[in-house]
Structure formats: C-alpha cells, structure tokens
C-alpha cells in the first residue's frame, strides 16, 4: 500500500515538474543553510577539542588582570604584571607539579632588505618548557629546537620558511635582525594552521624580555597539577596563594586562574549561541519553505478533486487519501531536503576551501556525520508532511459525489 502512495505521489510530482522544483527551492535553501552551518560548527568544535586535548585537562592558566579583564591583554600597571616571583609562588602550592611562564610581544624583524613586524615568543629553556609547549603544538619540522644555553638563536614559523612572510624563504643558519639584534635561525616549525600563528618566531625567554624591556614579567603562566589531584581545589589554592602574595582581597584579584575545562566551556557557550542564532535563521526559512509546500498542496488538492472522487469511488478510504497527500508533500520536502543537503555540503566545503586558500586557516574542516545527513533528510520529510497535513485532511473529507461532479 505504501508503495502505491509513493507511486501516485511520484507520478504526480513528475507530471508537474516546474511546480515541484519551485516548491522545493523553499525547502532546500533552509536545509542547505542548516547542513552547512552544522557541519562547519561541528568542524570548529572538533578543531577546538583537539586543541584542548593536546593541552590536557591537568593545566591551570594564570593571566594578569582580573576575571573580567581580557586575558593577557590588560593595560595593567607594573604592579599588576605577573613575574617570576608569582610563578615561584604558584610552584610552591601543593598539588602543583610544575609551572612555566612565557613572554611575548611585537618586534621588528629584518631579513635581507625586508623589514616586517612580527610576534616574538619567549620560551623558557629549562624544565618548565614542557608545560608551556603543551599550550601550542610546537614541533620542529626541520633543523633543531631551542636548547638550554642557546644565545641569539631562534626558530621560525612556517610562513617565514615558506617565504610568504619576507617574500623570500628564510634559510637555515642565516641571521634575522630582531630590533637590530642578530639571531641565527636554527629550526623551522611545523605549520599550526593559521597564517598569524605561523608567522611567529621563537626565542629564549630571557632574550625576549631584554628586547622588549619586560624585566622579569611573564605574559602568562601555565601550571600542571599533580596527577589525580582535584584541579578545582588546586586552582583555589593557587588563587589563595597569589592573593596573599600580591596582597589583594578576594573578589578584587588582579590576576585570573582558569582550568582548561573552564576555557572549553566558555568557548562551547559561544559556539552554541552562534549555532543557535544561525540555525534559528535557517529554521525560519524552512518554515517559509513549509508554507510554500502547503500552498502547493492546497492547489494540488483543488486540481485533483475529481481524482479524489474517483479514488473514493473505487474503494479508497479517507485514510488512504490523507496518506497519499501527506506522502506526496513529505516527498516534496525530502527531495528538497536532499538537494539542500548536497548544496549544504558544497557550501561548507566551499567555506572550508576559502578559509584555507584565502585566509590560510587549515584546521577548519567541515564535518558531515551520518546523523546530520539522515537527520536533515528526515527533518525535511517531516516538514513536508506537516505542511501537507491540512491540505491532505481537506482532500480526505471531500464528499465523493461532489468531487466527481467538480469541473
């Protein structure tokens, strides 16, 4: 029986192709929007999760500036900065395994005749370096990493070694002038995936501090907690210790301590809000598409009044008539949804391509889980069925004699 509902519907849809296609447009725009937004959103989540997995859940991040301030970017006075002393306080808290700090800033780089500004990152070269390195995936692609006792040495991001930064590729062993001081390139880093991160250079912490006149300041501190300890407890112990050391009252902290979980939650909330807003917009277009289907189905019921009369005369129950029209509008929705899915996949692949080719961000990968494809198909079928419900009910309630007399 279901087969026949489908047969009648398909015959009908294909015999009115123009209208079928026009009606489907309403649905496939909405579905395309939803599919591309979700696949990009999921891709973003996956990229962020990978980042955090690499970071691990056993890290505390300590930034200068209060909770409300932008981490690391405050206009803090000297007193508000984090220093080696703060780091030592953190290291002294029980439950902290190790801590490391880093300093960074903008400096003028000169290679050959070309001068450009770039971020210089100061990395600790002692044991605490491991803690810092978990923050960013710093892997050497060629040459070697910075080592303890390195002086006037640097490793450079892939934009420099590729040649996109200076216009000519930086050669291993050559010198780059940083604020007029010469540094020898000993290693090329692997690309992180976005051009701004890949244009950074890495130097010993002490030398960056000297170049940027930072004294013993640190731009942030990362601490690793002892395995299996209660990270929230350790976090509040660190806060307590830093409050005492910096002589501030609770609630007026001029620093903030965050766990990776917290950071992840914050990002998750932001992503959720963005997704909900966009999907809301897409949903509105789906509603409009649904109304389009409803309109088409009402027209179809009117046009096929005689047909409905005939089917009743040869034994169709009201239920059969309802089902025929609901299946037809459901199919209309699902066909639209199918095209929408293909369009949506193309759209998000396009976005993925543009972000990598034009913006150079390679870690944004559109993600198409099976549930998204099936869900979108099912959802568009349901939208179609709902939109067809009222017209189908009207069709089924037609008086057969009047339907047969209808001209």
């Amino acid at each position: 029986m279901l087969f026949d509902y489908f047969l009648i519907s398909i015959r009908n849809l294909t015999s009115r192709r123009t209208r079928t296609v026009l009606t489907m447009i309403g649905i496939f725009i909405g579905i395309a929007a939803i599919v591309s937004l979700i696949s990009i959103g999921q891709g973003m989540r996956i990229a962020i999760n990978e980042q955090f997995n690499q970071l691990g859940t056993d890290k505390l991040m300590i930034f200068p500036g209060g909770e409300s301030g932008v981490p690391g970017g405050t206009f803090g006075s000297e007193a508000k900065k984090l220093t080696d002393d703060d780091m030592n306080v953190v290291k002294g808290v029980s439950g902290i395994k190790d801590a490391g700090g880093m300093a960074y800033g903008v400096a003028r780089l000169k290679y050959g005749d070309v001068s450009k500004y770039a971020f210089i990152i100061g990395l600790p070269l002692d044991s605490s370096r491991k803690v810092i390195e978990s923050m960013q995936s710093l892997k050497v692609a060629d040459g070697r990493d910075l080592q303890e006792n390195d002086k006037s040495k640097m490793t450079v991001g892939s934009e420099l070694s590729k040649g996109t930064f200076f216009g000519t590729p930086v050669m291993m062993g050559e010198k780059i002038m940083v604020n007029d001081a010469p540094y020898r390139v000993v290693g090329f880093m692997e690309p992180v995936g976005n051009p701004s991160d890949d244009s950074q250079v890495y130097m010993p912490l002490e030398e960056v501090r000297k170049l940027l006149n930072k004294g013993n300041a640190l731009d942030y501190i990362i601490a690793q907690v002892v395995q299996d300890s209660d990270i929230d407890q350790v976090k509040s112990d660190v806060q307590k210790a830093l409050r005492r050391f910096r002589n501030v009252k609770q609630g007026q902290e001029d620093f903030s301590v965050q766990t990776t979980a917290q950071l992840m939650q914050t990002l998750d909330v932001v992503l959720n809000v963005i997704e909900i807003v966009f999907i809301g917009i897409a949903a509105i277009s789906l509603v409009v598409g649904g109304i389009g289907i409803m309109n088409t189905m009402y027209t179809s019921v009117l046009e096929r009044t005689t047909e409905i009369g005939i089917m009743k005369a040869i034994g169709a129950r009201n239920f059969d008539i309802t089902a025929i029209f609901v299946v037809e509008s459901g199919l209309l929705g699902m066909l639209g949804g199918g095209i929408g899915i293909i369009l949506g996949i193309a759209l998000s692949k396009g976005i993925e391509y543009i972000t990598s080719a034009v913006l150079g961000v390679t870690y944004l990968k559109a993600y198409f889980p099976l549930y998204l494809v099936l869900g979108a198909l099912g959802f568009s079928f349901i939208v179609g069925c709902l939109a067809g419900g009222l017209p189908a009910l009207r069709a089924s309630r037609l008086n057969p004699v009047e339907a047969l007399r209808y001209e």
Binding site: E307, G309, M311, A313, I314, G315, A316, R317, V401
Partner: protein, 230 residues
C-alpha cells in the same frame, strides 16, 4: 452471501439537496429491487435523478430519507470506512467520463482498486494483466489515459471495475462519450459480463437502442419511477 433476495433494494429513497435558499429534490421516493444476475437499464431525461440514484446505490452518497440495502445490509448505518470497503469490494463503477487517474498508466489504473484492498503487488499485476487482456488492451498497458482513445479508456475503466470481483457493476452512461461503434463494443463487453460472469449490472442510459441489451428497463422521470401506463 445469499443469492436469495435482491442484491440491491431501495425503499422509498429520497435525496434532497439544499443549496442556500433553493431545495432540489433530486430523488423523490424511489423503491426498487434488483435481483442477482439482472441487467437493469435505468432510463430517463437529463436531470431526472439517475446519477444521484447510482451514487447512492454505489455508497458514494447516503439518502436523505429511506433505506438502501446492499445484499440485505442497510448502508445508511455504515461508517465512512465501511462504505469505502463496500465500494471497493462489492461495487464496480463505470463512468461516462471514464474517470481514470491521468498520471497513472492503464495497468496502474487497473491495479489501483486492488491496492486499496491491500492485495499484494504481484497478485495485482497478474490480475490487471489478464483483465486488460480480456478487454483487448494488452498492447496498451503502459499508456497514460491521454494517450488512449475514448473507447480504449472506457475499456480500461471496465477492466478496473472488475478487479475486485464485484457482484454489482454500476455503469452511468458508459457509452455517452464514445462513438456508436465503440459504444456497441462496450455494450458487448457488459453483456458478456452479465451472461458469462453473472454480474449484476445497473446501467444508466438515455439511448433506447442500448436499453435493448438489458433484461429489464426502469424509467425515471423527475426523481420518480414512471410506471407503465403513467
């Protein structure tokens, strides 16, 4: 299924249409019995209420007043879906306008009534094949109605009316839209069904020539049966 008693019985049946201020008494107290195996021809001028009678006999409409018994069962107490069952199983309709589904092929049109009875697909196909064969359309199975002549369409409709082995065939001016030669061949089919398959046939016509095929003629005038000598 008793073969005793009338297959169709109308007892003082009235059909009154209310159209705003105007009341139309389409059928005004018709009583009629049709026995098993009869070929009844209903004659009368246009607007006399013939089609309205056919619709009520065929369970497409209920009388305003009076009783209709199909195989002894009063149809006015049946639910919508029971009426649909009766239409699907006991009655085969043939219309003046052929009334095939335009988007379906001849074969699919013939298969459709069986679909509403939940008959499996392969059974439906073979039945439809043999019925289309019977009406001489085995080479037109996959044609749409608009690709067929009027006579061919009506033959498809005859095949369709037979699919569920109905006891009663209701034909409302079956030759009204075809030329006289085709009309004659359609009448031959109906006559054959009556004689060989023992189908009870009620046919509306206003052509006295065609009425000759019937075993009995009833004349309707102004919603009433005109008795001999009236």
């Amino acid at each position: 299924m008793s073969k005793e008693g009338p297959v169709i019985e109308l007892r003082d049946v009235w059909k009154i249409y209310q159209m705003g201020e105007v009341t139309v008494e389409a059928v005004r107290g018709i009583s009629l019995k049709v026995n098993h195996g009869e070929f009844l021809s209903v004659m009368g001028p246009s607007g006399s209420g013939k089609s309205t009678c056919m619709h009520m006999i065929g369970c497409l409409d209920l009388p305003t007043r009076g009783t209709i018994l199909l195989e002894g069962k009063d149809i006015s107490h049946m639910s919508e879906s029971e009426l649909a069952q009766v239409r699907g199983r006991t009655i085969g309709f043939i219309f003046q306008q052929f009334n095939l589904i335009p988007t379906l092929t001849a074969l699919e049109n013939v298969m459709l009534p069986m679909a509403f009875q939940g008959i499996p697909l392969n059974e439906r196909r073979s039945k439809a094949f043999s019925l289309l064969n019977l009406v001489g359309l085995s080479d037109r199975m996959y044609h749409r109605p608009k690709e067929l002549s009027g006579g061919q369409q009506q033959r498809v409709a005859i095949a369709r009316s037979l699919t569920n082995d109905p006891r009663v065939i209701l034909a409302d001016e079956p030759t009204g839209n075809v030329d006289s030669t085709t009309g004659k061949s359609i009448m031959d089919y109906l006559s054959k069904l009556n004689k060989e398959e023992k189908k009870t046939i009620v046919m509306v016509t206003h052509d006295p020539e065609l009425a000759k095929y019937a075993s009995r003629v009833v004349n309707i005038y102004d919603g009433k049966i005109k008795q001999k000598g009236d």
